[in-house]
């Protein structure tokens, strides 16, 4: 049965509205877990635009979290008297612009690589960005960058950032959904399936890949801006994290590679397991997380959405 596009959009918005009531009913701990889930879901979907739809699995998207966060912080620090909402908007604009520029600059050489080579090259990009931020004085990566408190007076910052994360993740999801159902999205899927054949059939593969790369980078950078604000102070190590690079792939693997909601499900599941269930295991939480991931991938190699599809087909 074909899903009506308007219905899907309405479902996404309705789910976001329901989730927006979270801080009113959830204990503070779960509000923070919710923040991380929404942040991870937003990042996971942004990653999937390139990695899931086009099949270009990046192992270095943390580069854009860092570039977005540091640019926003540096630009915002030049306008200390600006009102908080304007400051956040300015941060978004600066973070998005910097990620667009960086991704455009590297798109041509790096998108000529495929598969593992592309993944490793992106890891290199992430490390180069990290080193530059750390070692070039104006970026203040080693000393750290302060972010002003932007939560409205009288509102719990945790609840405020929960709502901002929710808005960010919803926007990312709606953009990804719109891409998925467009001609452009179909082109990306054809690239994933067989890039050479797609090009022979007239799909402008280079332009499509480049566009997907830039959109993915910009959305990742914008989530990074929210993350930096929610922490209040970042150093290079806060944002250029290899575990983030890895997790972005794991979200899609868990939820279903190439699907729209796969990264959302994967992020929700992994964050719940690591932050709620295994958080108290001081010595072996990483071992338990790894074991769980291996088991999940063995049982459901196509992710949870693949498992559901298999069950439906069998029935």
């Amino acid at each position: 049965m074909k899903k009506h596009p308007l219905l899907v959009a309405l479902c996404i918005v309705a789910a976001a509205i329901v989730l927006a009531f979270g801080p009113m009913v959830l204990p503070p701990f779960y509000v923070r877990v919710g923040q991380i889930m929404l942040y991870s879901a937003g990042l996971g979907v942004a990653w999937a635009i390139l990695g899931g739809f086009a099949g270009y699995a990046s192992f270095g998207h943390a580069a854009f979290i860092g570039v977005g966060a540091f640019t926003a912080g540096l630009v915002e620090s030049q306008f200390p008297t600006l009102a908080a909402p304007l400051l956040l908007l300015l941060g978004f604009a600066a973070g998005a612009a910097s990620c667009a520029v960086v991704s455009l600059l590297i798109a041509y050489p790096i998108l000529r690589l495929r598969g593992t080579f592309f993944a490793i090259a992106m890891l290199g990009v992430s490390h180069v960005c990290s080193e530059v931020t750390n070692n070039v004085d104006i970026f203040q990566g080693s000393l750290g960058l302060n972010f002003p408190q932007i939560a409205p007076a009288g509102m719990d910052p945790a609840s405020f950032f929960y709502e901002v994360y929710l808005a960010g993740a919803t926007i990312v999801l709606l953009i990804a959904w719109q891409i998925r159902r467009s001609r452009f999205g179909a082109g990306l899927l054809s690239i994933r399936e067989d890039e050479d054949t797609a090009r022979m059939l007239g799909v402008p593969t280079e332009r499509y890949k480049r566009t997907a790369f830039v959109i993915s980078a910009v959305l990742t950078g914008m989530m990074g801006v929210i993350y930096a604000h929610s922490l209040g102070y970042i150093t290079t190590e806060s944002v250029y994290r290899d575990d983030t690079n890895l997790n972005l792939i794991v979200y899609s693997l868990l939820g279903g590679m190439g699907t729209l909601f796969g990264p959302v499900i994967g992020a929700g599941l992994l964050v719940f397991v690591t932050q709620v269930i295994l958080a108290r295991l001081l010595d072996f939480h990483l071992f338990a997380t790894g074991l769980l991931l291996v088991l999940l991938i063995l049982v459901a190699p196509g992710g949870l959405s693949g498992l559901l599809k298999r069950r439906k087909t069998a029935a």
Binding site: P27, P28, F29, V31, R32, V33, I36, Y39, N134, N135, D137, G141, S142, L143, G144, N146, D156, P157, A158, Y227, S230, L231, G232, Y233, I234, T235, T236, E237, S238, R241, D243, T274, Q275, A279, R280, L282, D283, H285, L286
Partner: protein, 393 residues
């Protein structure tokens, strides 16, 4: 014999829960393990050896609830929030300013106290937090002890130059050097940024010779300190005093330089010869001995600092006659006592008092490292000005 036993059984110790997160995995794990070991050492000693601590007439046993934050600030915030929701009143800090600050923001909002030994960034202590206390001075004040010593030297030095590596540790330290020395009225002649990996400093030393500062301050890593000192000897680059943050503490450095190491100054954060009297362990030496019975990992100053966090808590609670966060906060703000780590005293912003918790200054004298500052810990007077290299040979 039965009476004390009965009394002990009746007065069963209450649990005193102290929560927190530590990086046992991830980028900060190496130091995180030291911090964790320090917390465990103090808690087990107070519980097992002393049988608990007495606060306001009641016996308590420390119950640590520490979780691995995997060096991830986001994970650390959820761990701390969960403990606040569970009713934990007192917290110990993680390691790394990028983790300590977001977690301190949460404890601050919940009006719960945090004592930490892992975050020195100025950002932690300039946000108006009232419930966070650090065992170090903020980064830009960490050189205050050295610059205070420079000011006492006769004849008073007038000028300085600073050399640092292009990395996080050195750059932060260099900022502190510049702020402290400028504040003391010393004139800065030059600052030299070396690459992270250094093989030759001859061009930098040529510039040093051209202006010849009274003080040359090097906040570089151990091996770079040795390289600079050797090239200074080779090129006969003389200054009245050479300060090298890291290097001269090591016997290998002093052996490598031989007589040329004479009079070189350095920072010494902690070793088991510090003279402070500790109300629980007795002394730093006894603390170290007890640590060795618990862990095979070599001791580091972070272990001592972390243990002092718990000792500081206990002393503050004994002073406040309460275990409640608000009362403990007030007692911590008024802290002025010794532990095996240092003399504990905080600034109104919560960071360590620069002169008491800013580390000590050592100087190589007759091949040995003597403590020359602060007054309370010193084992010898500082030698100034140092002899030129050719007179040391």
């Amino acid at each position: 014999m039965a009476a004390p036993f009965v009394r002990t059984a009746k007065a069963q110790a209450k649990p005193l829960v102290i929560g927190g997160s530590v990086p046992l995995t991830g980028a900060a794990a190496e130091t995180g393990l030291n911090v964790n070991n320090g917390y465990i050492t103090a808690a087990t000693y107070l519980n097992d050896v002393l049988g608990g601590v007495e606060i306001a007439g009641e016996k308590y046993k420390i119950e640590l609830k520490l979780f691995d934050d995997a060096s991830d600030p986001a994970r650390a915030t959820t761990l701390i929030q969960r403990q606040i929701d569970d009713g934990t009143e007192l917290f110990l800090g993680s390691f790394g300013s990028n983790i300590v600050l977001p977690t301190a923001a949460i404890t601050e909002r919940a009006k719960k106290v945090m004592v930490q030994t892992g975050g020195g960034s100025d950002a932690i202590f300039t946000r108006g937090f009232k419930y966070s206390f650090g065992m170090f001075p903020r980064a830009t004040r960490q050189f205050a002890a050295a610059s205070a010593l420079f000011k006492t030297l006769k004849p008073t030095p007038a000028t300085y130059s600073v050399i640092y590596n292009n990395d996080a540790f050195s750059k932060t330290a260099a900022e502190g050097v510049k702020m402290s020395c400028d504040a003391q009225g010393f004139q800065r002649l030059d600052q030299f940024e070396l690459p992270a990996k250094v093989t030759d400093v001859s061009s930098v030393l040529a510039s040093v010779r051209a202006k010849t500062p009274d003080l040359l301050v090097c906040v570089v890593h151990d091996q770079d300190s040795l390289l600079i000192a050797r090239q200074m000897v080779a090129t006969n680059t003389n200054v009245k005093l050479l300060f090298q943050g890291l290097g001269p503490q090591l016997a290998s450095y002093r052996e490598a330089l031989g007589k040329y190491s004479e009079s070189i100054l350095c920072s010494t954060y902690w070793d088991d010869s510090v003279p402070y009297k500790d109300p629980f362990f007795g002394s730093a030496k006894k603390f170290h001995e007890y640590y060795k019975t618990k862990f095979t990992r070599p001791i580091a100053y972070h272990v001592s600092g972390a243990a002092a966090c718990i000792e500081t808590y206990v002393i503050a609670m004994q002073m406040a006659k309460s275990t409640k966060s608000e009362a403990v906060r007030e007692a911590l703000a008024a802290a002025d006592f010794d532990t095996q780590y240092a003399h504990i005293k905080f600034t109104p912003e919560g960071d360590g008092d620069p002169l008491n918790l800013g580390g000590m200054i050592g100087q190589v004298q007759k091949g040995k490292l003597e403590t020359v500052f602060p007054e309370k810990a010193k084992s010898a007077d500082a030698v100034y000005p140092a002899l030129p290299w050719d007179k040391k040979a």
